[in-house]
C-alpha cells in the first residue's frame, strides 16, 4: 500500500518541509510564543518538548492555521504560506491529532477514519444524492484505503463501534487513523501517548515509527515522556515560557544545561 508520496532518502542534504521563521503569538497580554524559529525536514520525526504552558500546542495550532501569529513567516513545501483557514491547510497536506481527543463521538470508527479522506473525495451533492455511480465508486475506492489504515492500526474488530464507547487508548489510536487516512505530507501529533499505560505507549511508538518508516511521513510530535522522545525522534526542539531554549539531536538536547534547568525548575 502507499499512504505516502514524499521520499526521505536524502540523509545528507535534507529537504526542509516546514520552516518557521521568528514566530510570535500572543493572546491579549499573554505571550504564548516569542520569536521562535525552527524547521522540520522531510521524512524526519521532530519532537517538540517543554514544560506545561510552554507553547507547544500553540505552535501546532499556528502550523495548522488555528492561530495566526502576529509576527513571523511560515514556509511549507518551499513556498511562503499566506494566512489560511485550517480547512485550506488540510488540502495542503497537513493533518493532526489533538491533546484532548477530538473524535466525532456520534460516528463509528470507520466513519471517523473515512472522514479523514475528505480532502481526497470530490463528488458533489448531485452525485451523492444519486449514490449509484460515481459517488459509490469514489466511496469504495476510499474505503479500501481506509481498510488498510484499519489493518495497519490493528483495529479491525472495532470498525463499526461508535467511538464514544471505546476506551481512551483506542480512541487515541482511531484519531491517529483519521489523520493517517488523509495521507498527509506532515503529521502533527499533540501528546499522542498522554494518559496511556506502558503497553499502550509501546504500541503507539511502534505505530508512529512504522508510519514514518513505511510511508516516509514527516512527523512533528509533542511528548512529555523523555524516554519516548529519545527513542523515536530524529531531532528535538525544546520550548520554555514560549521561547526556544534548545534544538538538536536527542542526545545533545538531553545533556544541555539550559534544558535540564528548565525541566528541573518545573518538576521541583
Amino acid at each position: 500500500m502507499s499512504i505516502q508520496n514524499t521520499t526521505a532518502d536524502q540523509q545528507h542534504n535534507p529537504a526542509v518541509l516546514l520552516d518557521l521563521k521568528h514566530i510570535s503569538l500572543s493572546f491579549g497580554g499573554v505571550k504564548a510564543i516569542t520569536d521562535i524559529s525552527f524547521d522540520i525536514y522531510e521524512g524526519e520525526v521532530r519532537a517538540i518538548i517543554g514544560p506545561n504552558g510552554a507553547g507547544k500546542s500553540s505552535m501546532l495550532n499556528v502550523i495548522n492555521g488555528f492561530y495566526h501569529p502576529q509576527q513571523g513567516e511560515i514556509w511549507f513545501d518551499g513556498k511562503h504560506r499566506q494566512a489560511m483557514k485550517p480547512y485550506e491547510i488540510a488540502y495542503q497536506g497537513i493533518a493532526r491529532t489533538f491533546q484532548n481527543i477530538a473524535l466525532f463521538k456520534g460516528m463509528s470508527v470507520l466513519d471517523n477514519i473515512m472522514t479523514g479522506r475528505f480532502t481526497h473525495m470530490s463528488k458533489n451533492l448531485f452525485w451523492q444524492a444519486l449514490w449509484k455511480g460515481p459517488a459509490e465508486q469514489e466511496e469504495i475506492a476510499n474505503r479500501e484505503l481506509v481498510e488498510h489504515v484499519i489493518d495497519f492500526l490493528e483495529i479491525q474488530a472495532i470498525r463499526k463501534t461508535p467511538v464514544g464507547r471505546l476506551p481512551y487508548g483506542l480512541q487515541k489510536r482511531v484519531e491517529l487513523g483519521r489523520a493517517l487516512a488523509a495521507q498527509p505530507k506532515l503529521l502533527l501529533l499533540d501528546e499522542p501517548m498522554a494518559g496511556m499505560n506502558v503497553e499502550e505507549k509501546e504500541d503507539m511508538c511502534r505505530f508512529i515509527l512504522d508510519v514514518n518508516d513505511t510511508f516516509g511521513t514527516t512527523i512533528a510530535l509533542i511528548e512529555h515522556d523523555m524516554g519516548v522522545v529519545m527513542d523515536i525522534s530524529d531531532r528535538v526542539v525544546v520550548l520554555d515560557y514560549g521561547r526556544k531554549i534548545g534544538d538538536g539531536n536527542p542526545d545533545d538536547v538531553r545533556n544541555d544545561q539550559t534544558v535540564i534547568d528548565a525541566y528541573l525548575g518545573v518538576s521541583h
Binding site: K85, I89, G106, T115, Q128, A129, E139, E144
Partner: protein, 358 residues
C-alpha cells in the same frame, strides 16, 4: 434465532455499506414497500388516506428535512413552519403562473425555492451556535410568515388572504383540487416520501453526510480534516429546506387544498416537527418516519379511544392529547434521547441474541 446476521458475510465493501445489511431487514423493507404501493391503495378508505396516510407522509418529509439539519448537522432550527410556508406559497405561485406545469415539477421547484431561502437564513449559523441560532431561526419563522401575509402578491391579491390549490395533474391523473382522489394524493406523496428518504439516506452515508456529522460532533476537528464549515452548514440548510419546502408544498396542495399562512404555518408547526424528530430519533431516517407516524396517529387513536370509546367530550380529549405529547417528550429526553429509532435498535440487538441472552 430467526433474526440473525451470523453467516451473512459481506464480500465487498459495496455489500457492507448497503442500507439493510441484514437479509431479514431487507425482506421486511420490500414487504413494507409492497403493502404501501400495492395493498393499501386497494383497500384504503378515503378517510384513512386523507386523515392519516397523507399527513403522515407529508410530516415525515418535513421531519426528514429537519432531521438532516438538527440530527445530522447539529444546527437547531425553529423555522420549519416558515420554510414550509415558503414551499406552499412557491407552489401556489407556480400553479397559478404556469397552469400547464405538472405537479412533480411544481413540488420539486418549490423545494428548490425553499432551499435558496433556507440558505439565506442559514448564513448566521456560521457565527452563532446552539441556543442563539435557534433564536435566529425563530426570527426567520416570524419574518417569513409576516412577509407572506403582508405582501398581497404572494396570495394573488385574494380578498380572504387565502391561497387555494387549483386542479393540477400529472400524466392526466388529477393530483390537486376538489376532484382529486385521496388515494392518488396518497400515492403522489408516497412516491415523493420514498424518493426523498432514499436521497436522504444517500446523502447521509457519504462524504457530505460525514462532513455534516463531523461539524455536529466536533467542528474544530472537522475543519482540520478539510471540512469548510460554511459549505457544510449551508449545504445542510439547503438540503433540509428543500425537504421542508416539498413538505410545505404537499401540505398545502394535496392535504389542505387551501391555506392561510398565519394559521397553517405558525410556530406550532415548527415545534411539532421538532418533536417528531426528537421522538423518532435525532440522526435517523427511519426515526423521522416513526416520529411523524407517532405525532399523526396518536391524536387520532386517542380521539377514537376517549371520544369514541369512553364518550368524553372532544375538547377534553384534545387537552389530554397535549398533556400526553408533552409528557412523552420529557420522558424521551430523559430516558432515550435517541428516540424510538434507538429503542428499535436496542430491541434488535436483543433479538439477535434471542433466545440465549448471553
Amino acid at each position: 434465532m430467526f433474526y440473525r446476521e451470523s453467516g451473512d458475510f459481506k464480500k465487498t465493501y459495496q455489500d457492507d455499506s448497503q442500507t439493510f445489511p441484514i437479509k431479514f431487514d431487507r425482506r421486511r423493507y420490500y414487504v413494507v414497500m409492497a403493502i404501501a404501493f400495492l395493498v393499501l391503495p386497494m383497500f384504503m378508505t378515503d378517510y384513512f388516506a386523507n386523515a392519516m396516510m397523507i399527513p403522515f407522509l407529508v410530516w415525515a418529509i418535513a421531519a426528514l428535512g429537519l432531521n438532516i439539519l438538527v440530527g445530522y448537522c447539529g444546527q437547531l432550527s425553529l423555522g420549519t413552519g416558515g420554510f414550509m410556508a415558503v414551499g406552499a406559497y412557491a407552489t401556489y405561485k407556480l400553479m397559478t403562473s404556469f397552469p400547464g406545469m405538472d405537479m412533480f415539477s411544481v413540488v420539486l421547484l418549490s423545494g428548490f425555492v425553499t432551499a435558496l431561502v433556507g440558505m439565506i437564513f442559514g448564513l448566521p449559523s456560521l457565527r452563532i451556535k446552539g441556543f442563539y441560532l435557534a433564536v435566529a431561526t425563530l426570527a426567520a419563522q416570524f419574518f417569513l410568515v409576516w412577509l407572506l401575509n403582508k405582501v398581497p402578491w404572494f396570495y394573488n391579491y385574494s380578498a380572504s388572504g387565502q391561497i387555494t390549490a387549483p386542479e393540477r395533474s400529472i400524466f392526466g391523473i388529477i393530483i390537486t383540487g376538489p376532484h382529486a382522489s385521496p388515494i392518488t394524493g396518497y400515492l403522489f406523496c408516497l412516491i415523493l416520501a420514498v424518493g426523498l428518504a432514499w436521497v436522504a439516506r444517500n446523502l447521509t452515508r457519504g462524504r457530505l453526510g460525514r462532513s455534516w456529522m463531523a461539524i455536529r460532533d466536533m467542528d474544530i476537528a472537522a475543519e482540520i480534516i478539510g471540512v469548510n464549515p460554511l459549505m457544510a452548514k449551508l449545504s445542510a440548510f439547503a438540503v433540509s429546506s428543500f425537504f421542508v419546502g416539498v413538505a410545505g408544498s404537499l401540505f398545502f396542495s394535496v392535504y389542505l387544498g387551501a391555506a392561510e399562512v398565519t394559521e397553517a404555518f405558525s410556530i406550532n408547526v415548527s415545534f411539532a416537527v421538532l418533536f417528531m424528530v426528537i421522538i423518532g430519533g435525532l440522526g435517523s431516517i427511519f426515526g423521522s418516519f416513526v416520529g411523524a407516524a407517532f405525532m399523526v396517529l396518536m391524536p387520532v387513536l386517542l380521539k377514537n379511544i376517549l371520544v369514541g370509546g369512553f364518550g368524553w367530550p372532544t375538547d377534553l380529549a384534545a387537552h389530554l392529547e397535549f398533556i400526553i405529547v408533552g409528557a412523552l417528550i420529557v420522558i424521551f429526553l430523559i430516558v432515550e434521547p435517541h428516540g424510538l429509532a434507538q429503542m428499535a435498535r436496542v430491541l434488535k440487538e436483543k433479538l439477535r441474541l434471542w433466545p440465549f441472552p448471553h
